[in-house]
């Protein structure tokens, strides 16, 4: 039975101790993974910051040539790409999310620790790929938004965009794995008693952010895959002369891009919702409405992407719809701002640096939000599009919102993470220089934007009247640079000799403050029983409110350390370290590198490493495929195994992936300017393939049923049958593709052929992966390594297989049987 968190023995090695270099390279501890995210993000933040300062130097005076136009383009591209994909998201999710989710929900780790390590290594590989242009081929220079058809090889030859495409594909994969992991962790691994409405607001924000990641990133992945095909295999997904439209990229990009803003903003809201109550010494005002607001913001954020595209001419109906949803999103956002203010109101305030940054975030983000509402109105947006007003707006949102929150989080949770305090005095200097530098840099951009200064401009004429405000902005940028220099100094000073941090330096409210600073590897000696919101506060003071506080402050209430009861921690088994995440990431990086430098043997070597690593991970632990039975920690998901939730989350994300592919096919199938169209499709053959795939699903469930009842003979027969039917389906697809080639329809023939081959080919690749997965299980069954106790392995593979089947049901209908129905 779960119990109150008991104090730990006097000497507990922290998660930072032991293991050496190999320990860090093979770690799957969520806290160590978080620290590695922190280190890489701080490194890339220095890069991105220096690029921003170089941009401001170039704009210091009119007709300046401090940078060449090409270098300027590369710097603003890499500044945006770096700050979004390699700094803000890794800090919010990889660093803070990783470190805090298990600690705040009372768990010992995330649901999939090895997947978590893989996410980090993939993110690092992505960062390296994105920056390899420094060495060969030049830096990407088409903007962080990479608008087509500027990114086509015809307009941007060389390797620069190749690095960008492959780097972002790897980064996106890493982020989706993180989202899947966090979602499963929060659903299934909360401590007993922690209902959804008792979760810390930071956890709420990450729960919703994870869902948003799973449904937003596949659209970017598809957009990047099309671009990759255009650049590497000569297709024309974004080439107007082939009948395609570059607008497709904009839709796919902003389908990801606007939810991405909230993927960065929602965790920031969560941070502020943790910091403000602690330093106001009040519970968060309007907790339920804050939680519902997060959900509503996320839901609406998926339907507002068009406000980035008013200038493309989507028509009055679409403009109106996107304008309305964009305006509506201000309502739940406003609820949050007012709730934070109401929490501060009447509180017993402690003016720490963390609280300063939190208050700063409310003010600066609100300014960004207000200018955002202007963009929701199509006529006003048309005046502001591509002007510096937009640059001002999104920096108030992403720097004023996300970065201020991140800095607040640093000062708040740093003691827990490192066991040392950050300097408050230098912190205050850091805060005020940041506020001054930030506003001096970005507020004048509203004005020069309204005066007509275009964004992404390399230089400007002296007669435009923009000189003085640009010089002011550059001064502001250097003040901001000094502020961040102080921040890095503060971190360095803290690490080498900062004041030791107690377990609960801020008199915190959530569970992480019940652990030592820094926490041990296992987080909690005993899994806590949660009795309400602000779980740690209630454990400290009961529900006595301020009277409890008074008793605590006067020393009448025993602290946990005073009530220490040694707990046996020997029985706690944490998962063993694994080298596979690192090896698999190296395989992925090798594949990307080989693709870009056009050396396909390298790609094959990388692919082999990836496949072997996946199989190795599958069988790494002796209890693979068995239901988890943690006697201390019954899953909060009603008994459903975390792996099952994980595979369903992945399948959910795949729905959006295939929806993006299918919608592109429908849009493009009738727009070819030459060559064959849908009439070439072979209905009798694919009808046969459809029957085969449907029957393979039947065999799959029969295999699962046989495994669950321990019938090894039929387990092998049905599994073998499923593999065989899968292979027959694949053979049919190979035959179909080959016959099309003989009839003169190749990948690059026209829009129909390329969208057909990519859609059906990706489905075929999923079938091939399924066949490989089932073949491995078949070998395990034939060698006696499967059986009833490992039925979960078969069930997970089966879910994937059935999903491949239902996708084919849709493809068969929309692609083959509706071939005579014209597309959009």
């Amino acid at each position: 039975m779960a119990a109150q968190p008991k104090p730990l023995p006097v000497h507990q090695p922290s998660y930072l101790e032991g293991g050496g270099i190999v320990g860090w390279l093979t770690t799957i501890d969520h806290k160590r993974v978080a620290v590695m995210y922190l280190a890489s993000a701080l490194f890339f933040m220095a890069f991105g910051g220096l690029e921003a300062m170089a941009i401001r130097v170039q704009l210091w005076h009119p007709d300046n040539h401090a940078l060449s136009a090409a270098t300027y383009n590369a710097f603003f591209t890499m500044h945006g790409t770096t700050m979004i994909f390699l700094v803000v998201m890794p800090l919010l999710l990889g660093f803070l999310g990783n470190f805090l989710i298990p600690l705040q929900i009372g768990a010992r780790d995330v649901a999939f620790p090895r997947l978590n390590a893989l996410s980090f290594w993939l993110a690092l590989v992505a960062g390296i790929l994105l920056h390899l242009g420094w060495i060969r081929g030049g830096l990407p220079d088409a903007g962080w938004f990479g608008y087509a058809n500027l990114t086509e090889r015809y307009f941007t030859p060389g390797l620069a965009i190749d690095w960008w495409v492959v780097g972002l594909l790897v980064s996106g994969t890493s982020t989706v794995l993180t989202g899947l992991n966090f979602l499963t962790t929060i659903i299934a691994m909360r401590a007993p008693g922690m209902t959804y409405m008792r979760m810390p607001m930071f956890i709420w924000s990450l729960l919703v952010t994870s869902i948003l990641i799973l449904i937003a990133f596949p659209a970017l992945t598809i957009g990047l895959i099309f671009l990759l095909f255009d650049r590497f295999f000569d297709t024309h997904f974004y080439v107007a002369s082939a009948g395609a439209t570059p607008i497709l990229w904009q839709h796919l990009f902003w389908l990801f891009g606007h939810p991405e803003v909230y993927i960065m903003a929602l965790p920031a809201f969560g941070i502020i919702s943790e910091v403000i109550p602690t330093f106001s010494r009040k519970p968060l005002f309007g907790y339920p409405m804050m939680a519902y607001s997060i959900c509503l913001i996320a839901f609406l954020s998926y339907g507002v992407w068009g406000h980035h595209m008013f200038a493309t001419g989507m028509g009055p109906v679409a403009d109106s719809a996107f304008a309305i949803t964009s305006m509506l999103i201000a309502i739940p956002t406003g609820v949050k701002v007012f709730s934070w203010i109401a929490t501060v109101w009447g509180g017993s305030l402690r003016m720490t640096t963390a609280f300063y940054f939190a208050l700063g975030m409310i003010l600066e983000f609100t300014i960004g939000g207000l200018s955002g509402i202007m963009h929701a109105s199509a006529p006003i947006d048309l005046q502001q599009t591509d002007s510096y007003f937009v640059v001002a707006h999104f920096h108030y949102v992403l720097f004023g919102g996300a970065m201020f929150a991140i800095l607040s989080a640093f000062y708040y949770w740093w003691p827990k993470i490192t066991g040392r305090m950050l300097g408050e005095r230098i912190g205050k200097w850091h805060f005020w220089l940041t506020v001054v530098g930030f506003n001096v840099t970005f507020f004048p951009m509203h004005i020069v934007g309204m005066w007509g200064m275009p964004r992404r401009t390399y230089t400007y004429g002296a007669d435009m009247g923009w000189t003085h405000l640009n010089q002011l902005e550059t001064v502001g940028a250097f003040i901001l640079g000094i502020a961040f220099l102080l921040f890095y100094i503060n971190i360095f000073k803290s690490l080498i000799g900062g004041e030791r941090a107690p377990a609960d330096p801020w008199d915190g409210r959530s569970l992480e403050w019940s652990t030592p600073s820094p926490p041990p590897a296992y987080n909690f000696a005993t899994i806590p029983q949660i009795r309400g919101r602000d779980a740690w506060w209630i454990l400290k003071y009961g529900r006595a409110g301020s009277r409890g506080v008074a008793a605590y402050m006067s020393g009448q209430t025993p602290t946990l350390s005073q009530a220490a009861q040694p707990v046996d921690v020997e029985h706690i088994h944490m998962p063993a370290p694994s080298i596979f995440p690192l090896v698999m990431s190296l395989g992925v990086g090798t594949m990307g590198l080989g693709l870009i430098i056009d050396w396909y043997r390298i790609v094959i070597i990388g692919a082999v490493v990836v496949v072997l690593s996946i199989i190795g991970m599958g069988f790494e632990y002796a209890d693979f495929g068995q239901e988890s039975h943690d006697p201390e920690h019954a899953p909060s998901s009603g008994g459903i195994d975390v792996r099952k939730i994980g595979i369903w989350s992945f399948i959910g994300s795949e729905c959006v992936f295939f929806a993006s592919l299918i919608s592109t096919f429908i849009v493009y199938k009738s727009r070819s300017v030459t060559g064959p169209g849908p009439e070439i499709l072979n209905i009798p053959l694919t009808s046969f393939s459809t029957f085969i795939l449907l029957m393979s699903s039947l065999l799959m469930v029969l295999a699962l049923a046989a495994t669950q009842r321990g019938d090894k003979r039929w387990e092998r027969i049905w599994l073998g049958g499923t593999v065989l039917f899968g292979l027959i389906f694949l053979c049919g697809q190979v035959y179909e593709f080959t016959s099309f080639m003989h009839e003169g329809m190749g990948l690059t023939t026209n829009l129909f052929s390329q969208s057909f081959f990519v859609l059906v080919g990706f489905h075929g690749a999923h079938v091939a992966i399924g066949v490989l997965w089932l073949s491995v299980l078949l070998v395990a069954a034939m060698t006696g390594n499967l059986g009833k106790s490992r039925a979960l392995s078969v069930e997970l593979a089966g879910l994937y297989w059935h999903f491949v089947d239902v996708v084919w049901i849709i493809i068969f209908t929309l692609v083959y049987l509706m071939q005579a129905v014209p597309g959009a």
Binding site: A219, T245, G652, L694, L799, H802, D805
Partner: protein
């Protein structure tokens, strides 16, 4: 033989072979109906709605019975259905947006 197989320590019940075979029969019949509708020219005016209904029925049968959503409770259904719904919105929105674009763009060439 019982049609209900007891799994997961008695917490979740999955159907047995008989149910799976019945579902397979339905899938075969529905697929045959789809192909028939495709080849019968008299049904062309209702081709799209009929095919969508038949495909949706097949999709639902596989998801509910073979993927066990009917038996595994609301949580997994929610994890699947919400992204599925958003995917559907995306599909429809893109088709409509490009339909407008196609009708209002200058002819190619």
């Amino acid at each position: 033989m019982s049609d209900i197989a007891d799994t997961h320590g008695g917490q979740v019940h999955h159907p047995g072979a008989a149910t799976y075979l019945i579902i397979a029969a339905f899938l075969v019949v529905l697929t045959a109906m789809e192909i028939t509708v495709f080849y019968v020219h008299a049904l062309r005016p209702v081709l799209v709605p009929v095919l969508i209904v038949l495909a949706a029925a097949k999709f639902a049968l596989v998801a509910m019975f073979y993927m066990h959503l009917k038996y595994d409770g609301w949580l997994l259904t929610g994890v699947f259905v919400f992204p599925l719904m958003m995917a559907g919105i995306l599909l429809l929105a893109l088709i409509l947006l490009f339909a407008y674009l196609s009708n209002h763009m200058a002819p190619i060439g």
